[in-house]
Symmetry: C3
Subunit: 341 residues, 3 copies
């Protein structure tokens, strides 16, 4: 669906410094863009690629305009990511699949299927499950007994919703997610780990996206909860009875142990691990690979293992790499320095 | 299935300090419990929630009774987790699915199917596979050629058993587990990584539970083994020829590299990584996120990267965070302190 | 398919020090080998197991021959892993499945299916997908609309190829891989994370193997690329717009953040995490669990968090564990030592 640069500029509220009648049909990185594409400059670091790019024009933040080579056709915007999103929505409109249940799908009679629902081949909708209006279920999905899926939600191939799982509206659940599996709970009885039945729920809010092969366990007693607007990347693990607030970002391969709460707007960096029964405050930021072993106050940034306030962790790390020299100097009786003088 | 508190108290061997004729039908956390629920106090930290809870009574360890607000109805027990398990089994009895093979399932003629087996929609049981009595196979499962599943084992949706995989009795395998995939083995030949055929087995003992999306590779030559009674959480990776003993706990996202052995009763914390060809002794404990690069003796607790005895690791970490101040003091020629005086 | 030791020795170019007419039919580890098996000695550490092994003979590197007990029948080779591979190929020849599309599979009319293709039960080949000659698709696979799979590639059960994904020839994709799922990209608009449409591609080269439950996201704009001959282990995460060169090794549970490039022949150790927009040079080596936060030059080995040149990281770690003693000595006014004298 091609658009003129004029139409694009209006759509993203840009100052247009390019021929408004040029038509584009795609978005591409600077190095692979063709003259039919618009491209993007998000950092001064990439500005020197602009000169050799064939793109019809570039989207650029107003602050970076001065870094562009002279004569570059551009659209200056406040936030290039926000603008990129709007351009992509215009150029790559997505057609939802035709509503209808594939003849191979197995849908229980007692399941409630809303209007305009699409169910792909080999999917199973069990007894008393509920799919809201406009839900799209791809192929090979299992929606367990009594699970509920809110309107407009998209479930990709090979997802498992264990019985009773609740998903809000307008969610996107990627392939291989397992929602509502048993939590990891045992009672040690005479040296044997006896399984504690897991009878709690798994409740996901509205507009939540969960990446491929991530897992959110059901509660042991009480529920595991993911708040509305939260986004979870691939291969993350959310333990039983975790309570994630609204608009939380959970990057790939993060693990959150049982009964921990994560406050609204917090950001958990990739591969971070959060211990059990902890509280991560609203707006807190946990660095990639951090190992969190204690509560994190609201708004605080922590990193490292065990996680400490980020500034303190950085100072300790910097000192660590000066330490071998310090030890050498002390051993030689010389004056200790910080290794930088 | 409601029970009186009298019946519950008998079942868990509790001292009952509540009206024995009160009837409960569920278990819930303190903050969401209704008067039909029993709840649980596992730590003095939560005792102040008891006063505002609507629960009919609480299960509590005998040592915590003194922390309860006066007048709290309670059942005092030796171990509240053990008691919780028994209460849940009583209140939430699980009905196994009706035996029978769903008409959509594909079961090879040469497969051996025991008594009272249930096979869900779209599952595939390949040639010469064996399912013992009472096995439950959910939907979309692949049981590969010649794989063997012991009696009473439950396989959740979307599990893959590669050909020849052996599962013991009374196991629980959660959705998305991949058992018996090829190990990661290549021979470098002229700069190319040439695949070494993986021909060993993948043998899982009895009463093993494996969490969602975990992977246990087959051996290259010889077998990968998980001992009876071991419990593996979500998204764990068990490499080829690893030998895990009995009653081992493997927490979520742990990775164990090829040919490592883990002794009976060991506990591997979340996201820990264990190098290849190592020996983790019986009863050893590996801290969350630890990186184990050397053998760990029986009974030892290690943590950090590279993993060291836990006490030593703690001392080093504590010292690290005092280091910036030490460097500053040395630079200024002042007396060095430990940052705490 | 049994072979004489003479035939085996010729095949792997070995010096044969054993009865050439002895026949073997399998390969097994020293401790479980029977007299019909050949075994393997890859380290002097295992040489003392040789005496008690029932193996007919052992494959051994020429440098380790002197460690064998006297009288051990052996085949001396330059590289025992290379030899092992050749022996396994001879003793365990793999028969490809019969070509043909299982009657339960759903194959779109517009899909192009090459010669001698095998498609297993409950697999879905969507519109305009292309399967090259000799492709094997196991059960429960989804090949999305317009996806392309090169000749000779093997796709195990439960794999998802999102629409448009491109796979080269002679690849092996293990169960549960998700190729081409959306990258993790949002624009923060008024406190809400608004999804940026992900419209780029996911292109995998030739002879790539990807382990169970790994994920390779599609690009946001532009493509995510995995170069030919690269090998990826289980549960790895490759973010959007990552570009992995040829013959790269990615060990289990590694995570690579968006837009990072990994040069030819690099090796990423297990559980390593690589930040976004970084460059890992050709031939670089990243240690297990390392956290890479800056570019890594070609050929360099880094480890630790934040990752530093390996030697420097080792020195800092060694110093760290001497630090508690140093602090104690300084506090006591004594002479500082390095804890080893």
């Amino acid at each position: 669906m091609p658009h003129s640069l004029r139409s694009i500029a209006e759509r993203v509220d840009a100052d247009l410094h390019a021929d408004p009648d040029v038509t584009i049909s795609g978005v591409a990185p600077l190095d692979t863009a063709s003259p039919d594409d618009i491209s993007l400059v998000v950092s001064a670091r990439y500005a020197d690629l602009v000169g050799s790019s064939a793109a019809a024009a570039v989207l650029v933040g107003r602050k970076l305009v001065e870094h562009l080579p002279e004569g570059t056709p551009y659209l200056a915007v406040d936030d290039p990511h926000v603008a990129l999103r709007l351009v992509l929505l215009a150029l790559y409109p997505e057609a939802p699949p035709e509503p209808g249940v594939h003849p191979s799908a197995v849908v229980a009679e007692s399941a409630e299927i809303g209007a305009d629902v699409s169910v792909g081949p080999f999917s199973v909708i069990e007894e008393k499950a509920v799919l809201g209006d406009g839900v799209v279920v791809s192929s090979h999905v299992r929606v367990g007994r009594g699970a509920r899926v809110g309107g407009g939600t998209l479930i990709h191939a090979h997802v498992t919703l264990y019985p009773g799982t609740e998903l809000g509206r307008d969610c996107i659940i990627h392939s291989g997610c397992r929602l509502g599996a048993d939590g990891f709970g045992y009672a040690l009885t005479g040296g044997r780990h006896e399984k504690i039945p897991q009878v709690g729920g798994c409740r996901i809010g509205d507009e939540v996206e969960i990446g491929a092969n991530s897992t959110v366990d059901r509660g042991s007693i009480g529920d595991t909860v993911v708040g509305s607007g939260s986004k979870i990347d691939n291969l993350a693990h959310i333990g039983h009875n975790v309570r994630i607030g609204e608009r939380v970002i959970v990057v790939a391969q993060v693990g959150i142990s049982g009964s921990t709460t994560v406050g609204e707007g917090a950001v958990l960096g990739g591969q971070a691990g959060i211990g059990g029964h902890l509280s991560i405050g609203p707006g807190a930021r946990v660095g990639a690979q951090a190992g969190v072993t204690a509560d994190v106050p609201a708004g605080q940034t922590v990193s490292g293992y065990p996680a400490r306030p980020h500034r303190e962790a950085l100072r300790a790390q910097a000192a660590l790499f000066r330490l071998p020299q310090l030890l050498r100097q002390l051993r030689e009786g010389g004056k200790a320095g910080d290794g930088t003088s």
